[in-house]
Amino acid sequence: MKCNFHFAALLVILMLNIVFTQKMVHQYYFENYVTAIIYCLLNLVLFPIAFVIYKQDQKKA
């Protein structure tokens, strides 16, 4: 049985990506620019996390 934790983690990250993008766009139009930038950074941070998770999964296999 492979480690499904990594798999689930990546799915969660994709979900968060969608949520953060949605929030970012809305906060931008609401002119809360600081909040928009925070969500943008969160979205940026998620990518390296996803990549690390993927690499870890590769190592285990």
């Binding site: 990546l10 799915l11 970012m24 620019y33 943008c40 979205n43 940026l44 990549f51 993927y54």
Partner: protein, 174 residues
């Protein structure tokens, strides 16, 4: 890798495993995870411009003053009527509504839901977006019904020498 995954595991002579599509087994677990990581990358890259534009607005670069723009002569807009115009840019649709003798309101009329044009319904006294029946309060621009959640951006107007001028787009109150 393609060949490894493209193999049918064992030879079965029956009627249930007889579908033989090309690359049927190409998207394995690892491949799917790779796609997920790629999607995260796409999300990251595509959120960059939003962050950039937001930062630009924060630094005050977006606060430039637009020249006052004449919308319409008072004579040609009766009370209760509306007129469409563009402000501040050539592609920013806006609407001016004359409510009383002296009261004018103007909004950027791209619906805050999906940017359909918002129309002034004179008989009902409300602003309506026909796409999903979003309605806006004509006095404030606040959404009153339907999907939109954000008020229409209000345009400050002034009356001068028998004509109505657009001055600037108001910021939302923080």
């Amino acid at each position: 890798m393609t060949q490894k995954n493209n193999k049918i595991p064992f030879n079965e002579d029956n009627y249930t495993h007889n579908i033989n599509r090309n690359n049927e087994r190409k998207l394995d677990r690892r491949g799917f995870m790779k796609t997920l990581v790629g999607a995260a990358g796409v999300f990251a890259v595509s959120s960059l411009p939003w962050g950039g534009v937001a930062a630009k607005e924060l630094m005050g670069l977006g606060n430039k003053e637009y020249p006052h723009k004449k919308i319409v002569d008072i004579k040609s807009i009766p009370i209760g009527h509306s007129v469409d115009f563009k402000f501040p840019g050539e592609h920013d649709d806006a609407i001016l509504i004359r409510l009383t003798e002296t009261k004018y309101v103007a909004y950027q009329n791209a619906c805050t839901h999906l940017r359909c044009p918002v129309f002034w319904e004179k008989e009902k006294g409300e602003m309506l977006c026909p796409c999903h029946h979003g309605k806006f309060d004509v006095e404030t621009g606040a959404p009153t019904a339907g999907p939109p959640r954000r008020p229409l951006p209000e345009i400050e107007v002034k009356v001068e020498k028998g004509a109505v001028y657009a001055v600037k787009v108001k910021r939302y109150e923080v």
